[in-house]
């Protein structure tokens, strides 16, 4: 596609439920990032993929969060047992290589009620 695509754009879920957020990066981009952004703050790094492997997952807040990128393209961020504090906009970005511009999707706004 022309840009980074994230689905769904909005997700409302009940506390305790499991959610999956999807990111389709720009075709051919090897690097993929996930961020979380709360209102009035900058994007907070969660995880970075180079190809299929998670090169750096140091930003994942706890073991309820997990992300995969099995074929080196589409990535899924998975959140188990959601909590109200998980409510935020989840942003995905991709870049051609790790030292080039990163392009962002429009994000998924997750609301846990």
């Amino acid at each position: 596609g022309a840009g980074v695509s994230q689905t769904p754009s909005n997700k409302v879920t009940e506390k305790g439920k499991y959610v999956e957020l999807r990111c389709d990066p720009i075709s051919g981009h090897t690097a993929l990032y996930w961020y979380r952004q709360s209102l009035g703050q900058g994007p907070e790094f969660l995880i970075y993929f180079q190809g299929t492997g998670a090169a750096d997952d140091s930003g994942l807040p706890n073991d309820r969060f997990f992300a995969v990128r099995p074929e080196g393209s589409v990535s899924t961020l998975k959140i188990q047992r959601t909590e109200r504090g998980d409510s935020a906009v989840y942003l995905c970005a991709s870049s051609l290589t790790e030292n080039t511009e990163a392009f962002f999707g429009q994000g998924t706004r997750l609301t846990v009620v």
């Binding site: 952004q37 209102l39 900058g42 140091s58 030292n99």
Partner: protein
């Protein structure tokens, strides 16, 4: 954790004036990128400056980088009301695994008044 810190946190100017935003960071970087964000959703990439570069221009935007001071600035000349947005710097640093990790600051909220 945040690597970059933008200054000021908020900036209010009149149309036609120049806007300068600063970014300071703590560790060595491979490159520094500036982004713009409207209404809290997708970030738009503005400029990437590499660690061996000192200045870059793109239209009304001018970015400088001083690696000795670990700081960068973004200048928007002849500002327009449409420039109203939040601006973020992001630093590409080498993570423990040897890969670049892109870390954002808290941003500067720019308001340009007609």
């Amino acid at each position: 954790s945040q690597q970059g810190e933008e200054d000021p946190q908020a900036l209010s100017i009149q149309e036609g004036e120049n806007a300068t935003m600063n970014c300071s960071y703590k560790t060595s970087i491979n490159n520094l990128q500036w982004y713009r964000q409207n209404s809290g959703r997708g970030l738009v990439h503005l400029i990437l400056i590499r660690s061996n570069e000192r200045e870059k221009h793109s239209g009304r935007l001018r970015v400088t980088l001083d690696t000795s001071k670990k700081s960068s600035s973004l200048l928007i000349t002849a500002s327009r009301a449409a420039d109203t947005a939040s601006y973020f710097c992001a630093t590409a640093t080498i993570s423990s695994g040897g890969y670049n990790k892109l870390i954002f600051g808290a941003g500067t909220r720019l308001a340009v008044h007609p």
